[in-house]
């Protein structure tokens, strides 16, 4: 009986283990699986690496990836995506798309704390987001 009281009183004088989000942020593991993002092409960092093959669309368990369109620019062998829509609200973050991507164009983002006021906030167009990131960096 008394031993239990001892445990709690000792705990009271031990330092807290709380990490105070949003004032303190935990280190997010580099392998953290958030929603996906498009990576730049290995040869040309200006464009995204997606070749609009649609393998991820077929493999996605919950049909979260939609409307992939691509165009073939002049002098290039393969298509480049112009539209890549991800409905993050049905995603289960399993990583099958990342694994099966033949051009290694998809990776997880470290966006660990999304929250919003609308469902539609989480329907991303990854190509647009890629362009935005390119501009800001």
């Amino acid at each position: 009986m008394l031993a239990g009281l001892g445990v709690t009183i000792r705990a009271m004088f031990q330092p807290v283990v709380t990490s105070q989000y949003p004032r303190q942020l935990l280190a997010i593991s580099p392998r953290f699986r958030g929603h996906i993002k498009l990576l730049a092409d290995a040869d040309n960092p200006d464009k995204n690496g997606c070749i609009a093959c649609g393998i991820c669309v077929r493999n996605c368990p919950s049909g979260s990836i939609k409307d992939i369109e691509g165009e073939k620019r002049e002098g290039e062998k393969r298509k480049t995506a112009t539209s890549y829509r991800l409905d993050f609200t049905t995603c289960s973050q399993c990583g099958i798309c990342v694994e099966t991507c033949p051009s290694n164009a998809i990776d997880f983002s470290a966006d660990y704390n999304p929250a919003g006021f609308k469902r539609e906030d989480f329907h991303y167009d990854l190509v647009k987001e890629f362009e935005k990131r390119k501009k800001s960096s």
Binding site: M1, G4, V7, T8, F32, N59, S92, C94, T100
Partner: protein, 524 residues
């Protein structure tokens, strides 16, 4: 054992052909096809031999429905599959609920999902589903429910007597850890009868499995049992690997063991905290979460997720572990060993806790067998049965550990068994870390599209809650023809009404907690 059962079963049934099957491919040793009368005979025979009814599966082959009964034994590895063919237009079968208590529940499930009528079953009413569903969900072709079927299924209505009243424990109730509803018929504070109502989180996993390729089903098992996500993940991948004959590299096998055991500890820890919260002590809940966060840190660094890991892939792992993982795991083992003393002081040695749990919800060995309970509940009842020993997958066969068992089968024993199991899990992790070989973590030749050969498989693994059985029927396509999940929580829940009867409301909460139920797993 197998030879003996084959001969005796043959004699008991008289003239039915009993085939020996390749255990490594099929997961059972004997199989036979029976008529309704022979099925009853077989069930009685297995009952007398001390077998338990592991699962009843219904498979819709379009031309006929097939009921698959898996009988297994606690003491020796000998599994038998008995099948019964039914007419799809008017499926009917004899009930086994008088012989094996667990059949009562499995048959109710099959009644709802396939429309099979079980002659002599006392209560074929809605268990998972509800009036809003018009067709039998798991039939391959749409079969609508007739009006009289709906009426019969909806026949369960609680009626209050003069001195009794009903209390709904759930579906939104703090002690049910989710959305289990138990209708308690109360006489004052004493429980006269308890009737679980399930399906508040029925997410159609088995239906989804038939609609998806093996690969696409990967995220689902972790969502069935989110506390033992690794074990379910492990069960799924090892079952499919066994079906396809994929050999997994040693390193992957070892890591699988480490990850699964870490997850087991985290699951038991959460049980401990939630159980104490049920009993009214909140502080241990926060202490265990502190430990859990350490496990989460270690696992997240390698899997990328905190809860629904989805880490194992067919043929290996999602990605390799690094030195940081090994160091983190070692640090965690060190820390956890020191924490047991603290829990013992705070919980195990507390008079109030002991008084609340000793002699409560006692499960005898015989009753445990009839209800086919498994996992820590079974071991708490004193039967040393662990699928990690009985049917080892991954690298469990190379691990040396003992199986903690209880003596009285009450809630206190369940607590002790689980705490000691955390200790053995630490031992296993240490051994696995010590012999972690170098090498690849992914088998080399895993086809992009898995198309297992025709046939079926009953594969079991030990999850934190007990025996998980996966019954897969493959028709050579890239999707399973049928994938049945025999989940441990469902079996463990079945025994609850009997344990609760005649006890106080407070005890019912203590008993329900000691069974360690995860509701999405029951509802699937």
């Amino acid at each position: 054992m197998v030879e003996k059962i084959k001969a005796e079963l043959g004699a008991a049934l008289g003239g039915v052909e009993i085939r020996e099957t390749e255990y490594r491919e099929r997961g059972y040793h004997l199989s036979c096809e029976a008529s309704p009368g022979e099925l009853l005979k077989a069930a009685r025979f297995f009952d007398e031999c001390g077998f338990y009814l592991a699962a009843i599966v219904c498979v819709d082959y379009r031309e006929y429905l097939e009921l698959v009964y898996i009988f297994a034994n606690h003491s020796a590895l000998c599994k038998t599959k008995v099948t019964l063919k039914l007419d799809p237009a008017k499926p009917a079968a004899p009930t086994l609920s008088a012989i094996f208590d667990c059949a009562y529940w499995h048959e109710r499930e099959i009644r709802e999902f396939y429309g099979v009528l079980f002659d002599g079953h006392p209560n074929l009413t809605y268990l998972f589903l509800h009036e809003g569903i018009d067709a039998y969900p798991l039939r391959k072709e749409q079969v609508l429910l007739a009006d009289e079927d709906k009426k019969a299924l909806g026949a369960f209505r609680p009626e209050e007597g003069e001195d009794t009243f009903f209390v709904n424990l759930g579906p939104q109730h703090p002690s049910t850890h989710g959305v289990l509803r138990v209708v308690l018929k109360m006489d004052g504070e004493y429980i006269q009868s308890a009737e679980p109502v399930l399906g508040y989180l029925h997410r159609m996993h088995e239906k989804m499995a038939e609609n998806r390729s093996y690969l696409q089903f990967l995220p689902n098992p972790s969502r069935m049992d989110y506390l033992g996500a690794m074990s379910f993940n492990l069960g799924h991948v090892t079952a499919v690997e066994r079906l396809c004959g994929i050999a997994v590299p040693d390193r992957a096998n070892c890591v699988r063991v480490i990850a699964t055991e870490l997850n087991r500890i985290s699951s038991h820890l959460l049980w401990l905290g939630a159980y104490l919260a049920d009993l009214g002590a909140l502080t241990p809940f926060l202490f265990v979460f502190d430990d859990r966060e350490q496990i989460n840190d270690v696992l997240e660094a390698v899997t990328g997720s905190r809860l629904t890991y989805c880490y194992f892939r067919f043929g290996g792992l999602y990605n390799d572990v690094d030195e940081a993982f090994i160091a983190g795991t070692k640090a965690f083992i060190e820390r956890m060993r020191g924490r047991f003393g603290l829990y013992e002081k705070l919980v195990g040695g507390n008079v109030i806790f002991i008084n609340r749990t000793r002699g409560i919800g006692v499960i005898e060995k015989e009753r445990a067998r009839k209800y086919a309970v498994s996992g820590p509940v079974l071991r708490g009842a004193g039967i040393a049965m662990d699928m990690r020993k009985a049917e080892p997958c991954a690298a469990y066969s190379e691990m040396d550990f003992d199986i903690p068992v209880g003596t009285r089968g009450d809630a206190l024993d369940m607590y002790r068994v689980r705490v000691r199991e955390m200790g053995t899990a630490l031992d296993i992790i240490e051994q696995a870390l010590a012999r972690l070989p170098d090498g690849p973590v992914m088998a080399e030749k895993v086809p992009k599209k898995l198309k297992p050969p025709k046939g079926d498989l009953y594969h079991t693994v030990e999850t934190p809650r007990g025996e998980l059985g996966i019954y897969i029927v493959s028709d050579e396509s890239d999707r399973p023809y049928r994938m049945k999940w025999r989940v441990p929580s469902f079996s463990n829940l079945m025994i609850f009404p009997e344990l609760a009867r005649g006890n106080l409301l407070a005890d019912a909460v203590a008993i329900l907690g000691s069974l360690d139920l995860v509701i999405p797993e029951i509802d699937r």
